[in-house]
């Protein structure tokens, strides 16, 4: 930097490098200064209208009274108001009526998806596809019936089927014959069961719960629905306890289902979801009924 100023009267700062490079004191352009003052005015105006400056744990209140949380709450209120009209209609209509209304059904399915994820997916799978030990909901095979009335009953009060353990009732060969018969029935759609198997099925009490034709229906109703006690359909190739086959069938026959005194017994309990035992309101259950029915409901 030069110690002397070789350009006196030039309005420079006196800082000169390499003999001729110097720092001038030119004012900023007018447009820049205008922008500068406008931005200061804008900051002052903004801080008067909106919360800007920290005051303790809070901030100054703007004249408009705007806050982010207030805007969020207003947004939620607007959405709630929009939902309320759908929720009111759901409250008034039955699950069957909701299923018949495409717009309302769409809203209900979207709303119930979260409920399903929180309450049902852990056992029945994220898409209702079932899991080992837990029934599939996305098919047309129902242990207690797939009508909206039956689904409501199931979700509200839960289900707990019972099958006695036959370890002390049947002989080993009888258990094996029955287990083979169950496999044959499932593999052939109910047409290939052995005579010996049918005889045991009918004489050892299986027919009482699994039905005369082993389809899990205790009584078939004229409207196509049925009365069942949760016993599996033994002729449709769908295994209640996967992986299915001889070993699975044999285990179920030997140790039964939900037999408290038999440690090896199958555990097949669905809890009640209705308040107060459960945590779902009547409205939530109605939504879930619509959701589950649309996965694979029917008679």
């Amino acid at each position: 930097m030069a110690d002397h100023n070789p350009f006196p009267g030039e309005n420079n700062t006196g800082h000169v490098w390499d003999d001729n490079i110097r720092e001038l004191k030119n004012p900023p352009p007018r447009w820049w200064m205008q922008g500068f003052w406008l931005s200061i005015i804008w900051v002052v105006g903004y801080s008067i209208l909106y919360p800007t400056w920290p005051v303790g744990d809070d901030a100054n209140r703007g004249l408009l009274g705007w806050t982010q949380i207030k805007e969020y709450e207003q947004g939620v209120e607007r959405i709630e108001a929009k939902r309320a009209e759908f929720e009111d209609r759901i409250r008034e209509l039955s699950a069957d009526q909701i299923l018949a209304d495409p717009g309302l059904k769409q809203y209900t399915l979207a709303s119930a998806k979260v409920l399903f994820g929180d309450n049902c997916a852990a056992c029945h799978g994220s898409g209702g596809q079932g899991n080992p030990g837990y029934p599939v909901l996305a098919d047309d095979d129902w242990l207690y019936g797939g009508t909206t009335a039956k689904l409501t009953e199931t979700i509200t009060g839960g289900r707990q089927s019972l099958m006695p353990a036959h370890k002390t009732i049947l002989t080993e060969p009888e258990v094996d014959t029955l287990a083979h018969w169950v496999v044959q029935m499932n593999e052939t759609g109910g047409e290939g069961g052995s005579e010996a198997g049918w005889t045991l099925f009918k004489t050892k009490g299986c027919v009482a719960c699994h039905g005369q034709t082993a389809n899990g229906h205790v009584v078939d109703l004229p409207n196509g629905d049925f009365i069942g006690v949760g016993a599996a359909n033994l002729r449709d190739g769908i295994w209640r306890f996967e992986p299915g086959g001889f070993e699975s069938a044999r285990h179920t026959i030997l140790y039964g289902v939900n037999q408290k005194d038999v440690p090896e017994s199958r555990n097949a309990v669905m809890p009640a979801f209705a308040e107060p035992a459960g945590k779902l309101s009547e409205q939530d259950i109605k939504k879930l009924v619509v959701y589950v029915h649309s996965l694979g409901g029917g008679m």
Binding site: G117, A121, A122, C123, G125, S126, G127, Q129, N131, P132, G133, W239, F241, E242, P243, G244, G245, E247, S248, R250, H251, T252, E264, R266, N267
Partner: protein, 175 residues
Amino acid sequence: MMTHIQTRLQTHLQPNAALRNPWVLGWIGLIVVVLAVNLVMVYLAFATNPGLVNADYYERGRNYERTVLTRQARDPGWLIRADIPASLHAGQTESIRVFFVDKAGQPVDPEVVTFHAYRPSDAARDFTLSMNREDRGRYVVETAFPLIGVWDTLIVARLGEDEFSVGERLTVGTP
């Protein structure tokens, strides 16, 4: 009057004369075939590359048969089923579950269950989580995949010296 040399020159200078030569056509065909095969191989390399490399790949390959036979001999016949939501979005937490039942369909509990997520294109983004027992034979982990695109997942269960696994390739969508 045209000389003999002029006639030969004219013949050689005719447009596309070389393309009628079977030798030239043969060589061009060969090059096209080689290039086509290369392109197919490049495509297959990209399409099927899992992006995963084992450090001890040689030893594993050498012991492959022994490993398979050992596993077959010790296979308890468990059914292992993973339940990973069909629709995954980056950054969105989802529950991933796995179910274990024995060959009679009774739930069974391994000692340790671990969830591995591999990012085929970037090993630095791989992550591993322990799965928690939710019920008998049922394990869960809450996780969010940080990036969109393809992930390879592997759920590994250990029981004593035995190891059981189930793998699945996932595509994670935009948030």
